[in-house]
């Protein structure tokens, strides 16, 4: 039987050591090397052939996805299973684009990690339900507008701010509730990346000037 050659890359020594000892108890796996940094792991890939890299995302000053890019440039064509305590939706998305074979979250049982390695070795993709959920929610999330597109209500509220009206006065003038004015104002703050009314006025004026210049 051909053993599955594994490279462990994790900056947590205790986890790495525990995982190595777990893998030793499974005859189908062979741990080629264990590394704490991306540079050590790249060197290990050059020294010995590896079938699967078990890769943590946070590697001290580096990230797992940076390692993937570097390993692929160095000619590594094997599989990569992310074994991580957590990744941001954006990092999951980038890692998937880089061609990883799955994401295993460390809080799951060690037995399921062995299943994950077997699945990946067999050419499958290991999907952790929670990582999958994070990834799907990220895809569904509407992209925040980066332009100056304001809704008519936002424009009205902005006009009110320009005129120096208080929230209450704006609500009265526009015939809407005070909470609606506050919500619209908050939306304006978010869109323009500001936190105060004074900053809002400055940014709104500057951006409208820029828009006029561009047009």
């Amino acid at each position: 039987m051909q053993r599955i050659r594994l490279l462990l890359v994790d900056d947590h020594i205790l986890f790495r050591e525990g995982l190595r000892r777990l893998l030793v108890s499974e005859p189908e796996f062979e741990t080629v090397a264990e590394c704490g940094t991306a540079a050590q792991a790249l060197a290990a890939l050059v020294r010995s052939p590896v079938d699967i890299v078990l890769l943590d995302f946070d590697l001290e000053d580096e990230t797992g996805t940076r390692f993937i890019s570097a390993a692929q440039r160095a000619g590594y064509r094997g599989k990569i299973l992310m074994v991580t305590a957590g990744m941001s939706p954006l990092d999951i998305s980038v890692a998937r684009k880089l061609g990883i074979s799955g994401i295993f979250l460390k809080h799951n049982s060690p037995t399921s990690l062995l299943d994950a390695i077997r699945t990946v070795a067999a050419g499958g993709f290991w999907t952790d339900p929670r990582a999958e959920q994070i990834s799907q929610d990220f895809v569904k999330m509407p992209a925040k507008s980066t332009g100056n597109q304001l809704t008519p209500r936002e424009q009205d509220v902005l006009q009110g701010v320009f005129e120096g009206l208080t929230n209450k006065e704006m609500a009265h003038q526009m015939g809407i509730s005070l909470s609606s004015v506050k919500a619209t104002l908050q939306s304006l703050f978010d869109k323009l990346g500001v936190r105060t009314r004074g900053q809002l006025v400055r940014i709104a004026i500057e951006r409208s000037v820029e828009t006029v210049r561009e047009s």
């Binding site: 947590h12 205790l14 986890f15 525990g18 995982l19 000892r21 777990l22 108890s25 991306a38 540079a39 790249l42 946070d58 001290e60 000053d61 580096e62 990230t63 996805t65 940076r66 390692f67 890019s69 570097a70 440039r73 305590a85 957590g86 941001s88 939706p89 954006l90 990092d91 998305s93 980038v94 684009k97 880089l98 979250l105 460390k106 809080h107 049982s109 060690p110 037995t111 929670r130 994070i134 929610d137 990220f138 999330m141 992209a143 925040k144 980066t146 120096g164 208080t166 929230n167 978010d190 869109k191 323009l192 990346g193 500001v194 936190r195 105060t196 009314r197 004074g198 940014i203 500057e206």
Partner: protein, 470 residues
């Protein structure tokens, strides 16, 4: 009449003066009377005095005197004395007219300028979004602009004669200016009350002064209630966001440790030596529970707000305002190289500022006992984003130091600054890293240009190839 004449154009005045001289000369020539008409030339001299220079007036006076001398029928023995008197009269009249005219015109210009300034001032006061009030020493309102009436919620024109203490009590407590009390020219934040009884927070910029009518107080009042609300809400939001990032980061570490313990527990279970040991099984359950608690944060991680696009030039300018004087006090040279027109980047303005301030504090601590103290901040566009390079002339980071790990023993302060700073940066798709190859102690803040952050992150991964392999 005089004002109307002065409104004529210089050419018209000149023509009129010349015509008058011609008419007088003609009369003097044609009319045979036993009297000199030379003194009548003072009228054209008055006219010409409004437009000609002093030497031109002297020439005209000489000309008129000569004309009078020629045309008058008097014997030659009286000529010199008479001519002298006529010349002096004409020249003096012309010069006097010139002086009076100049003075009058200057006065008129001054009046016009004052009127224009008054109009501007009146417009400024009337249209000001801030309330402007003037008061007597005992707090009686003398003047109040429309904004003051709006702010205090009273009918237009009803404030003069009222007491300011009814609306802004603190203004009534300001000592009036006299020989013992010096002038006030300052600001304060206080509470006011509208006519309806509603309280509000206001910023008051005030000054005291003395007029012929007695000591006075002028105040510019701005409603700061909305700002207070926004500031408090923003602070709460920032606190929650900071706490969320801190909890996420700590949970991440706990999950890592739980993963390691779980792995060892599994190994021990497989060895069979602790089979049936209840404490061992309980330990396994405890680790599992702790791991579940630490994983709750993962559920929240996608529900948070997306970062906004912020103007990096503005954030960096704000940073400069904040740290410039601090650096000056600490005798640190601040070298600034930030190009204009950096693209908007994904970030939380406040969090990014916190990261930059944390780096500044670290640098200040590192430079404290050095003779050469310098901080360099530069920004440059990268593929799909912007990198801010933050360097100081300090001793640098010792090799092997794990900078971004929490609660470091070697850290000078809490040991959480860099750990949290990187968590902040990553929360808006950026990153914070130490550049060990830079000549000085350098940290690099990578920020994604507002647009496709995913593409930017991929670009970063590729660009990092050199640093990883190196």
């Amino acid at each position: 009449m005089t004002r109307r004449i002065l409104d004529w154009s210089p050419a018209a005045l000149l023509a009129c003066g010349a015509a008058l001289i011609a008419v007088l000369a003609l009369i003097d020539w044609q009319v045979e009377i036993n009297a000199t008409l030379g003194f009548l030339y003072i009228f054209p001299m008055v006219l010409l005095g409004t437009v000609l220079g002093w030497w031109q007036l002297i020439l005209v006076a000489i000309f008129c005197t000569a004309l009078s001398d020629r045309l008058d029928p008097f014997p030659a023995d009286m000529e010199s004395a008479r001519d002298g008197i006529i010349f002096l009269t004409l020249a003096t009249t012309g010069l006097l007219s010139r002086t009076v005219t100049k003075s009058y015109r200057r006065e008129m210009e001054s009046v016009a300028a004052r009127r224009a300034a008054e109009e501007q001032l009146e417009f400024l006061i009337e249209s000001s979004p801030a309330a402007i009030l003037t008061m007597t020493a005992d707090g009686e309102i003398l003047l109040a602009n429309p904004a003051a009436h709006r702010l205090l919620g009273v009918a237009k024109g009803s404030l003069p004669g009222q007491r300011i203490t009814r609306y802004i009590p603190a203004l009534g407590s300001i000592p009036s200016v006299d020989e013992s009390v010096k002038l006030f020219r300052t600001e304060m934040q206080t509470r006011g009350q509208r006519e309806s009884g509603e309280f509000f927070l206001c910023d008051v910029f005030f000054s005291t002064y003395i007029t012929a009518g007695g000591p006075r107080l002028a105040a510019l009042v701005v409603d700061a209630s909305e700002q207070l609300r926004e500031r408090e809400e923003a602070s709460l939001q920032q606190l929650l966001e900071g706490s969320r990032i801190l909890v996420a980061a700590v949970s991440h570490e706990v999950r890592n440790v739980c993963g390691a313990i779980g792995m060892m527990h599994e190994n021990l279970a497989r060895s069979g030596t602790l089979k049936g040991n209840q404490d061992f099984e309980a330990l396994g359950s405890l680790v599992e529970t702790l791991s579940k608690i630490a994983s709750l944060e993962l559920k929240q991680s996608v529900g948070r707000d997306e970062p906004s696009a912020v103007d990096l030039n503005e954030v960096l300018t704000d940073l400069r305002i904040v740290i410039e004087s601090t650096c000056e006090e600490s005798e640190i040279e601040l070298h600034w190289r930030v190009p204009p027109n950096l693209p908007p980047v994904y970030a939380d303005r406040h969090s990014l500022m916190q990261v930059l301030l944390n780096l500044t504090k670290n640098s200040q601590r590192a430079l404290e006992r050095l003779t050469r103290k310098a901080i360099r901040i530069s920004a440059s566009r990268t593929a799909g984003g912007v990198s801010i390079h933050f360097s100081d002339s300090g001793p640098g980071i010792p090799p092997g130091r794990k900078l971004f790990q929490p609660l470091q023993r070697e850290a000078d302060a809490t040991g959480l600054g860099l750990y949290l700073s990187r968590a902040f940066m990553r929360s808006f798709r950026g990153d914070l890293r130490h550049d060990p190859n830079a000549p000085e102690c350098t940290f690099v803040l990578d920020l994604a240009a507002a647009g496709d952050a995913e593409e930017y992150r991929s670009t970063l991964e590729n660009a990092a190839h050199t640093s990883v392999t190196g």
